[in-house]
Symmetry: C2
Subunit: 162 residues, 2 copies
Amino acid sequence: MRILGVDPGLATVGLGLVERESARSVRAIEWLTIETDAGMAPAERLRIIADDLEEYIKETSPDLAVVEKLFFSVNVKTALDVAQARGVILSVIARHGIPCLEPTPPELKSCITGDGNADKAQIQRMLMGMFNLKEPPSPDDAADALALAAFGAFQGRVTLLA
Amino acid sequence: MRILGVDPGLATVGLGLVERESARSVRAIEWLTIETDAGMAPAERLRIIADDLEEYIKETSPDLAVVEKLFFSVNVKTALDVAQARGVILSVIARHGIPCLEPTPPELKSCITGDGNADKAQIQRMLMGMFNLKEPPSPDDAADALALAAFGAFQGRVTLLA
């Protein structure tokens, strides 16, 4: 079972892909980003996100997607930009008929570290242990996406055993 | 020249289509809505918006699109939902290579009525006069989309004469 985590953004979309081979074996396949140029029109940047994500989904055929829920942000302009990108991402995932989990940031942190208020460094350490990585996954958006994919792998277990 | 106005929303997307035959002749072709069911998952609702808009664009081949810019809303949840739908709409428009104008609500109101603080009734009256309508266009989201399309027709004139 292959799980795709997506960390939404307008400038950078994080993608993390894991393979869940058994209840005890979850393997990180890759983590990467889709980047869009701040000099382009927003609509064009959203189109690039749609097209690149579409292509990535076709290449990797994930069975489950995980996209973080948006929390209220102090910066409204940024929140709206992220929401626009997130809408594009959700619609592309739904178009491919892929079920999608939408954890809140505390749900994600709690699942990965056991602490809903965990900081970035704690999550990085857990990911390194979980996936036997020699270095912390980077950049940040790709690491966040990998954490989301890991969340999906653990949630998936519950569903699959039920 | 055919101009498509789109009023973004998650439950209802307004669509308004006008034909600009000359600098003095702008005709309303139709105004309608895409509706999505509140009982469905958000990702599925966004997919429906993407697919229905895609189909409508293929059927009508607009030369220009106009999508209202988002303003900060008191209701953050609603603003994020609208932003997600708006992102989907912008990406579909960009995928078809259609240029897109993004007026703010005051810019739209000012263009249609001459008053950036115009209320709904004033805009309705101007649309009725502009397009020789016997009744105010409805529902509201479709009327807003028709106003956006009219905005595009007037802006287009400036560009075309330049």
